[in-house]
Amino acid sequence: MDNEQLTGLIRRAQGGDRSGFAELVDLHYDAIHRFAWKWCAHRADAEDIAQQACIKLARSLAQYRFQAPFSSWLYRLVVSCAQDWQRAQRRHLHAALPEDEPDHHAGRPEDAIHLTQLLEQLETLGTGMRETALLVHAEGLSHAEAGEILGVSESTISWRIHTMRRLMNKREQVASTL
């Protein structure tokens, strides 16, 4: 689908066309889900985040003004849903269940666990680090694009990327000397 068609579809959906909106969701669900999964490395959580994002899309599509590319706008929306999820997770570190089902759908469960640990580590490095790392490294976006999505300047993104590398290297050195 080229840009023009996409614009037409969005306008239809904004105008209240139900099937147009459905098509828009169908078109982007995979991408939304992919990013959500990268964020949390957990099947059910990713589905939740993705669903929230779809609902939010319905709610805020009217506010999309075609100023940024739709994909950036959508990224921003998904990131904010993921952040909401993250906050809620932190607020309610409720009692662990007797057995937390590992994610059977991931290629190898240990991959998912490892990724979770990595993401949590990045999280501890500072605000916005997880977001930045995922957008730049996992999604392959430019610093400018990531900055646009996260609402910070390109140089902030560059600084974050640099800082993360520095801190992670340091940690690894510490770990290897132990």
Partner: protein, 740 residues
């Protein structure tokens, strides 16, 4: 540590493809939101109603509550998005809902204030949610309540029990004469219901005199006190007019006297208490009779409780409703005239060596689309202040909206509401005018107190106006279960519903929210109205009840379905009916066509399980008598030693008053056909789970682990994930209630 750089690891993340069921769920939720937003935009001016910033504050508070609850739910539950509750918030200007081509009813709040100058009740608050947002929520709610009722006298917050003087102040009956019989006594913010005059002295004796203390502790105490006030409270309303549901006095002392030691953050949800069916000796009582139960409310409620970290109160666990929540592939009947055929299987009991389980499964005839009768539906929504929670009115609106997808363009939908006063929002309108209906539906705002009876009358009037002689005429009542009518009058309400049933207008009840959920009344009304009582806690549940099962909700294929099993003393020493405690019938009621019983809708599946102890088993619980010579009776009679018993089912076709009979023997060598093996195993697991939740009186060594394994092995295709969700629930219960 990993040798790869973290950048590289991030680059290599390879998410699995999305699950198609999850994708569908997300799509559905998004489309539903799309509809809602669109409908709201259609009445934009009402969005722009002047709003004090406190109102915004309240909305933010509720949104936070919603958000916290949302993420507290387990993954599969989280379909109901926490949404900004802005459209539902209290407003400064009480304006009528914007409804096209219809002169709207007077604004509920204003009318209520005029009709009832007596103490206004602030909306009830979520008293006991484990997420504990209520502490912050309560004052906000109060502010918004005042804001929306500028004329209301200042009242203490909900937490305050009104002082004795206020208790005695029974509000004057509403002006309409025919409502006298439904006069109400508003006693406290928790709206305990009592006939005027009877309970006031008791209340006054216990409630501390003087100014009401404040604070959340007091709320808890208050509720405890109120429970203690009247030991029969909560069960009195439950007794049907024919007295079949009478509850033994020893049983009803406290809704919360669950078998778990843990402190229970319970609120005002009311459940009928019942004693678990005992083991019966075939020699003493060979015949077992009960009415079918197609409700599923119990499962959704239990699920919600467990997901919120609270063990469900014992009365909330109705085994048969837990079992019947799931669809089973019992072979369906193939004609409308013989609407179902029973499937009977016999398997070993997983919780009793030497015992066997007899499954009786029924699947109602599926009506093909072209055979579907016309539908005349009236949605009756409780819009009282108590519905102002994300999981109440907003969820009800969204649920009802989904139902529209399943109607024929010519079917009609009317909308009525009740709060302080009842009002018609939308006259019966053809379903093809989807936008009109949606706009009316989403225009509803909560506010005011509850007067259930007047609303029901209005809804019946509307349904009568657009009555379809050959079609389905049904009222769908959405409420948090609180009917603000006195206890003795609840019976009159039931009677009224019964009368209307005779006229051909049926009633189903959809329950929402918690803390005040009057399961007992909802059950009683739906049963008397030839309807279903369902409890809706998430949008997923709404979809299941109103879309997937729309046929069974709307189209009755058999009325007054009763089951009777006569066990053979020659082969069965003891038996026990698992569940159906509240549906027991007297033996003689079976052939009495005047006695009402449960109805089966198109495609409904209903399952009953008996646990039997064969005569030759060592597992018998009840000793034989030394005197009485029953040994003689147990001598195998020639000819039927190969039968465990004999099954009889009575039902009436819709529109008929004479019952039909289906009979079939239960042979000793009955096994479990391969086609239904999974369903038998899964329903057995659910039965085991429900019994464990009830305290496991008869389940011997059975553990949650056993249930988990058994259910897991029987998952089958599970296209919508309901069975997988059950597994999660078992784990949750295990985590909460210990390793038994």
């Amino acid at each position: 540590m990993n040798t790869q750089s973290f950048e590289r690891q991030l680059q290599q993340i390879d998410p699995p493809p999305p699950d198609s069921a999850a994708r569908l769920r997300a799509r559905r939720a998004a489309l539903e939101e799309f509809d809602r937003v669109k409908a709201l935009r259609g009445q934009r001016h009402s969005w722009r109603a002047p709003r004090v910033w406190l109102g915004g504050f309240a909305a933010a508070g509720v949104a936070i509550v919603g958000a916290s609850l949302y993420w507290l739910m387990p993954a599969s539950e989280r379909v109901v998005a926490f949404r900004p509750v802005v459209p539902v918030q209290a407003r400064t200007s009480a304006r009528p809902p914007a409804v096209p081509d219809q002169s709207p009813p007077p604004p509920a709040e204003v009318t209520a204030a005029k009709q009832r100058p007596a103490p206004r009740l602030p909306p009830r608050r979520n008293v006991a949610a484990p997420a504990a947002p209520s502490a912050a929520g309560a004052p906000i709610a109060e502010i918004s309540a005042r804001a929306s009722n500028p004329t209301a006298p200042q009242q203490p917050p909900t937490s305050a029990i009104t002082a004795p003087a206020a208790v005695a102040a029974v509000p004057p009956a509403p002006p309409r004469g025919d409502e006298d019989e439904l006069a109400e006594a508003q006693v406290t913010g928790t709206r305990i219901l009592a006939p005027p005059g009877t309970s006031a002295p008791t209340e006054a004796g216990v409630v501390p005199a003087g100014g009401p203390p404040r604070g959340s502790n007091f709320i808890g105490n208050t509720i405890a006190n109120l429970r203690g006030l009247d030991p029969t409270f909560g069960s009195r309303t439950l007794t049907l007019s024919d007295g079949r549901r009478v509850v033994s006095a020893s049983n009803q002392a406290d809704v919360n006297s669950a078998p778990y030691g843990a402190a229970q953050p319970q609120a005002n949800d009311k459940f009928e208490q019942f004693a678990i069916n005992p083991v019966k000796r075939t020699a003493d009582e060979p015949v077992s009779t009960f009415s079918i139960d197609v409700d599923t409310a119990s499962y959704s409620f239990v699920r919600r409780q467990l997901n919120e970290g609270a063990p469900p109160p014992a009365g909330a666990v109705r085994t048969e409703e837990m079992i019947n929540y799931f669809d089973y592939d019992w072979p369906a009947a193939d004609s409308r005239e013989l609407p179902f055929k029973p499937t009977v299987t016999v398997s070993d009991s997983p919780w009793g060596t030497g015992k066997k389980l007899v499954h009786i499964g029924i699947k109602g005839y599926e009506l093909p689309a072209r055979q579907r009768p016309d539908v005349n539906l009236v949605l009756l929504l409780d819009v009282s202040g108590s519905m102002n929670e994300p999981d109440k009115l907003p969820l009800a609106q969204r649920s009802m909206a989904m139902l529209l997808d399943n109607l024929k363009p010519t079917d009609t939908v009317g909308i009525a509401v009740y709060a302080g006063a009842a009002g018609e929002v939308l006259p019966p309108t053809p379903a093809r005018d989807r936008d009109v209906i949606l706009r009316a539906l989403y225009s509803l705002r909560p506010g005011g107190s509850t007067a259930g009876a007047a609303g029901i009358r209005l809804a019946y009037d509307m349904a009568a106006r657009s009555f379809r002689k050959e079609g389905v005429n049904r009222i769908l009542l959405a409420t948090d279960g609180d009917f603000n009518v006195g206890i003795s009058d609840a019976r009159q309400l039931q009677h009224f519903v019964e009368q209307q049933r005779e006229r051909g207008i049926f009633l189903s009840v959809l329950g929402f929210g918690e803390d005040n959920y009057r399961d007992d009344i909802a059950q009683a009304l739906a049963q008397n109205g030839n309807g279903v009582a369902a409890y809706i806690d998430t949008l997923n549940e709404a979809h299941k009840v109103l879309v997937e099962q729309a046929g069974s909700q709307l189209f009755t294929i058999a009325k007054d379905v009763k089951l009777q099993v006569e066990f053979n003393p020659a082969t069965v020493a003891e038996y026990r009916l698992v569940g159906y405690e509240t549906r027991a019938l007297a033996r003689e009621d079976f052939n009495n066509d005047k006695v009402d019983a449960g109805d089966v809708g198109a495609g409904h599946t209903v399952t009953a399980i008996y646990e039997i102890t064969p005569v030759d088993s060592a597992a018998r619980l009840v000793d034989g008598l030394r005197y009485g010579g029953e040994e003689k009776k147990q001598a195998p009679d020639a000819g039927n030693a190969d039968e465990y018993g004999y099954l009889k089912i009575r039902y009436k076709l819709p529109g008929s008053d004479t019952s039909q009979l289906i009979e079939q023997p239960i042979a000793v060598r009955t096994g479990v056909p391969r086609a239904v093996r999974r369903d038998v195993a899964f329903s057995t697991a659910v039965a085991g789970f429900a019994q464990l939740l009830q305290g496991g009186k008869y389940t011997g060594p059975l553990t949650y682990d056993d249930v988990y394994r058994q259910a897991k092995d029987a998952l089958g295709e599970d296209p919508r994930g309901y069975r997988a969700e059950f597994l999660q629930l078992v784990r949750r219960a295990q985590g909460m209630l210990g390793q038994r």
